[in-house]
Amino acid sequence: MKTLLIPTIIKSVFRKIYKGIFSAHQSIIAIACMIMFLNPANVFAQTVLTGTVTSSKGEILTGVNIHVIGTKTGTTSDSTGNYKLMLPAKENMINFSLIGYKTQQLKPGSSPVFNVILDPAGHVLTEVVITSGLATSIKRSNAANAIVSLSAARLTGTTTPSTVDAAFSGKIVGATITQMSGAPGGGVSMQLRGISSITSSSQPLFIMDGVILNNSSFDAGRGTNAFTGANSISKGQDNLANRLADINAADIESVEVLKGSSAAAIYGTLANAGVVIITTKKGFNGPTKINFTQDIAAISATKLLPYGSWDEDKIKAFYSDPAQQASEIAAYQQAKSAGQIYNYPKEIYGRTALGTYSQLGLSGGSENTRFYISGGYNHEDGLTKNTGFKRATVRANINHNVNDRWDVQFNSNYINNVTDRGWENNDNNGVDIGTNLTSLPSYAQIHRLADGTYPVNPYYAENPFHVIDAFINRETTNRFIESFTTNYSIVKNDHHQLKASFQGGLDYLLTEAKLYAPDDAQSQINAISGYPGASRFTNDRSINTNFQLALVNTLEGKDFTNKTSAGLVRFNQNLVVNAVQGEGLEMGQMNPVNAAVRSNYSYSQQIINTGAFLQHELNWKDRVIATAALRIDKNTTNTSYNSFYPFPKGAVAVNLTKFDFWKTDAINQLKLRAAYGQTGGPAAFGSNFSQLNPTVYNNNLGLTAPITIGNDKIKYEIASEIEYGADMGFFNNAITLEVTLYDKKVKNLLQPFTLAPSVGYSGITGYPIGDLQNKGLEISLGATPVNRPDFRWNTILNYWFNRSKITRLIIPPSAAGPNLGALYGFNELRVGQSPTEFVGTPLKPDGTLTKYGDAQPKFQMTSYNKIDFLKHFEFSFLLHWNFRSYVSNFTRFQLDQGGQSPDWMVPTHLDGSGNIMPGPAIPTGLARQIGLNAGYFIESASYLKLREAALNYSFSKEHLQRLFGNAVKGLKVGVSGNNLFTITKYTGLDPEVSAFGQTSVGSNYDIVSAPYTKRFLFHLGVEF
């Protein structure tokens, strides 16, 4: 374990160096390799100032940063909102800031007690500190990049999210966030500023308290032939949940999103798709505060697929064989006379499911030791019986100051997540519920019989009730995320600080997937293998470890502040997948060892990334802030696994309003900024391997040709981005405007280089096939249109778009991503065209396929509004408009084939391409099967969604005192909802869909997903 060596090495180095220099500090330093935190107390203090910070609603505010301007003196408010500050001189202004609240700069009066009230801030330019490097941070007003910073109030304040990534939806300007299906337990794709790769998923790097999180989606093997047989195209179509679903959103204090290479360059090879930095809550000194929140949700389907009604004419039109017509009509008549016509989709998905979300937090501490301990339990039932999502988390975050130079922070998080995803999505064996429902007529009789057996579904391959009752698709994850941070101030005086910091951690997870299809199930009795009853147990074990060692030197002069940071980073990712599968199970047995045919699978991979960085920031009186940085990285996925590659960065921000010549009071902030940076995207593990395939023939081991040939010169994809923009504040930030333009070029896109299939290799695994460009615009407008004590309306309007374009290609135009054939349309790589553009049949006269539209939207727009009224009420909502993204809707086809389309019987002369057919009119459902082209499948999927809405009531301190005495310190009740309505012309279940999972290209396919849900929640929050 190389990472563990570091503390020892540093420890001994520190010891040696300091022996000769500061003998007085020897004993302290000897232990000290970790670090940090500037101790707020200042030895030169003269008077003591105390006070309480509350919100304008009377809530206690904990963790408010209080800082005497022009000095190093500062503190934070404790768990009761109280603070204590040693004032060096009475003339100083004091800055009070807290994320989500308007920063105040105030001058205390002569009284030693100074109480402060902060107003909630709705606008974007709140004065918070954000990341500017791996070990440094910067005031937002000085940042050269448009970094989205979300407070807990924005993330989870309106409504309690199902999973944390779902809570990002509509809140990050520049992001495309897609909930991939309606199944419970997550499954969200997030792309920042377009796509940054063709083969990899373009998902950002997630870092929580310094630990690089695993956000994989593990394949349970449901697509193998023993189950649905869907796997021939892409493993992602198993309706997978990505592991961000494990993270408890209620523990999150804030989230920062570094969207492009210019902001994320310091993360080097890992950051081509951006970085999301999650910081969890900390304790504050003061009496222990107990927080309890309980939400209860009613969960129901936003929409169900159309379900056809039947009559004799339709049966005659649907079946061509007279004998079959007769038998179906008889079945229909019998069902009708017995009153046994059913709406199966409604029966299966129509229920209102229950969700409960509980969170208990304890926080507090003393001057030197602070803690935040929490436990959370979320339980969401799925729409389908026996599906759902249960997650329990515990967390302990401990901060300790060893002395005024040295601090230590240890965050520990355990997660247990059990998700029953159900049986939905693509399928070739006719097992999945939705697939069966599309062909199941309402007069079918498939309810479970009194003897406990399930009738054979004569219309397709499986009885959906049997799937619901007896099939298992369960994923259980146990996960530890541990992070350790320590800072040591080597030098600490007013004008010079030198700090050493070490940050390291691990993310260990074991996901155990269990699949089971009983031996008496219809699809198993008819299994091609001839062995009914299948189970598959998969273990996915992943360990991420990473550490970072850094030195930060700050020199503050009269006019200039110089901050230099340098350090080392290392990241190690280790994945092992083991699966056992049994087919032909003993009756009632689930364990694969009880099977006639047992097979197994084992896979492992390891990736190591080692890097170093150097960064320098120059700040001229907050007027001009310039940054230059260099990161060097080596990654084992490169053929030159031990060579460093450089990733430079340069940025400058100019605050015009800070200059003396600025006289326009109406504009209180005008910052112009520009930033440039490079990042890399590592090749997929194994891109340089040419692996022979093992095979067994009559008990003998054989080797067959590799499918793909490795690239022996493989190297990372490289992105370079220039971002520029302006941040403006008007009328003391009553209106703020942030405008950003970016131009991100990704060079040497790795993609399988398709060979002529005659040669027997399908391609060269990862080959630099070309370049792409993402250009876009992001606008954030914040305003407080009404600002009265009893009515305050904050609003944020975000508008953004991204245009991707292939700029160079050394291969012929070709399909990219999952490809079901030109009939359903696919994303095509072609110079001058977006790589997410859908093309499909018919062929145009020039030999190219018809273009239908881009999977990426033309633009997105969100409107967030928060209205505080009558002192205690808060009403907030988030609207999201996605304009013109396109989806290939295969579900529509299934409905036609199964006779469920609403217009199935409408007579028409037009075929699937809209051409007039000779002869008499025929039912639309049949006509659409003739002369079909991709135009039928590819639909515009614009939508307007009410993502979140809430009405909350907070009790004031005084009110609580009257009601409960001092027992209750805070109380909040409310109602909220998410996805309460969606306005769209899209005919499928939901315009946000990705049958093939988190893929960069070929994402927007709709293949009979689980129905999507809306939630209506009741909220109770108590603070003791």
């Binding site: 190389k2 060596l5 570091i6 090495i9 160096i17 193998t224 021939s232 079946y319 061509s320 064989d321 079959q324 399928d427 070739n428 062909s439 579904n457 004569p458 397709y460 391959a461 080597i490 030098v491 030198l498 050493a500 091609i528 293998s529 001839g530 030195l551 350090g567 045919v597 097979s599 991979q605 190591i608 080692t610 170093a612 031990n642 391997f689 040419s690 692996q691 022979l692 093992p694 067994v696 023939y697 008990n699 054989g702 080797l703 067959t704 040709a705 499918i707 040939i709 398709t754 060979l755 299939p757 005659s758 027997g760 399909a815 054939g821 009939l823 049949t841 086809f893 099967q929 002369g931």
Partner: protein
């Protein structure tokens, strides 16, 4: 703290980083080798005997399945071949509600075939099998672990397989032709015409025959049990010649076909089932992907004309079984499941005496020896079909009709009907089962081939 101390501390800090940096274990990346399987490079040079044996076993296995060892989804080579050629030749329909393109698109309802669709999977599968044989050959030639006689044996074996795989691709591609020079995967040779492709395949089989003759008394590997009787260089020649005879009739070189038959295991009064077969087994082996349970809702059903056109009492109708209820999909109905293989481990015949007798009959018809042809056809009629002797006109056209009929029933769902009707220019006699269907004469050149260009 003094300024000097400050500077010292900076120096100290930098020193810490430098020391940490120079610590090899902190900044060195190890090389990570493939933890999941053997690399191609380990066999291409100085392969051991056991590696060569494993490649030979792999070659036998790839003949069965191509690269896709999962049965059922129609993309493994032999399975896909039978399903696609079977649909194009109106022998079967693949009924699957999840994938109606088997029924509507492949039967021509859209008027054109999609060069990017799943049903082109056979092309790569056969190519991959061919490449496995080519790797075997290259590895055998570049090692000192086997002697020159053993090398000749492997050359003859692998060239036979290479020719066999190319023939399957050519059958599907028809008039499009195929690439025949495939030595450099970055620079494959051009497509050559159908006739030139057949010539190249025939030449390769002839070369292989000569190499096998130099291969000594035994191969240095063991053939699977399905090749019992054809598992030495000299007996493997009989299989090589059976394939050569098939190629010769495609070339309409009747004389050559007869010569090839004579070096094969053709025997007019012998068992019709003589010939090598593919074997199957449970995991980790591969199950027969052409086997299917009866009355399944996902099923390969016989084209209704197969039953309708049969002579009463033809025993070969046992290759299909009437369903308990008909399957209906986008206007196509199927009442009979294909039931050629009784179990998922039933062997699949590669080329058997039944086909060789039919090849003989065809040569006789074409060479004007009609009585010999009738005699051969009667062997088929009586032994395979349990039918009375042929009683129709003894003329060339009438006997060709009869030959094609016997081939249809004897070689049902083995990928012959469509090719037979094509080489006799009779595709227009295949049934149109639904208004708007098209009978194709060739599968499209796969998109990736088109994109690669010449």
């Amino acid at each position: 703290m003094t300024r000097i101390n400050n500077k010292l501390s900076i120096v100290a800090g930098i020193a810490i980083l430098c020391i940490a940096f120079s610590c090899k274990s902190t900044i060195d990346n190890p090389e990570i080798n493939n933890p999941n399987g053997a690399e191609l490079s380990t066999v291409l040079k100085n392969a051991t005997r056991s590696q060569i044996i494993q490649l030979a076993t792999g070659t036998f296995s790839a003949m069965r399945t191509g690269y896709n060892t999962s049965p059922g989804n129609g993309t493994s080579s032999y399975e896909s071949y039978c399903k696609v050629a079977g649909t194009l030749g109106r022998e079967v329909y693949v009924m699957n509600q999840s994938e109606t393109r088997w029924v509507n698109e492949l039967a021509g309802l859209n008027g054109t075939l999609d060069p990017g669709a799943f049903y082109n999977g056979y092309y790569f599968s056969f190519s991959s099998a061919r490449q496995t044989a080519a790797i075997l050959q290259q590895s055998a030639m570049n090692t000192g672990s086997i002697n020159s006689q053993e090398k000749s044996g492997i050359q003859g074996f692998s060239n036979t397989i290479i020719a066999f795989e190319m023939l399957h691709i050519l059958n599907m591609q028809g008039k499009n032709g195929i690439r025949t020079d495939l030595t450099n995967y970055l620079k494959p040779g051009p497509f050559v015409s159908y006739d030139a492709s057949l010539t190249a395949i025939k030449n390769l089989l002839d070369t292989a025959q000569e190499q096998l003759k130099q291969g000594g008394n035994s191969f240095m590997f063991n053939a699977p049990p399905g090749f019992a009787g054809f598992d030495t260089p000299l007996t493997f020649i009989q299989f090589n010649r059976a394939i050569a005879a098939r190629v010769a009739i495609y070339q309409q070189d009747w004389q050559a076909a007869l010569t090839d038959l004579n070096s094969s295991y053709f025997k007019i009064d012998g068992s019709l089932s003589t010939g090598p077969v593919f074997n199957w087994g449970v995991t980790p082996d591969v199950l027969n992907p052409l086997y299917q349970a009866l009355n399944n809702s996902v099923s390969v059903v016989a084209n209704n004309s197969f039953i309708k056109d049969a002579e009463p009492g033809d025993m070969r109708l046992n290759k299909v079984t009437q369903r308990s209820s008909a399957l209906n999909l986008v206007g196509i109905t199927g009442s009979y499941d294909v039931s050629l293989y009784p179990s998922n481990r039933s062997p699949v015949s590669i080329i058997r005496n039944e086909e060789l007798v039919l090849i003989y009959a065809e040569c006789m018809i074409q060479l004007g020896q009609l009585q010999n042809a009738v005699q051969a056809l009667n062997v088929i009629r009586t032994h395979a079909g349990n039918l009375p002797a042929y009683s129709g006109l003894v003329t060339k056209p009438a006997l060709i009709d009869e030959l094609l009929k016997q081939r249809r029933y004897s070689l049902f769902y083995e990928g012959h009907r469509w090719i037979d009707m094509r080489r006799y220019n009779r595709l227009n006699q295949l049934p149109i089962d639904q208004t708007g269907q098209t009978i194709f004469d060739a599968m499209p050149v796969p998109l990736a081939e088109v994109n690669w260009g010449k």
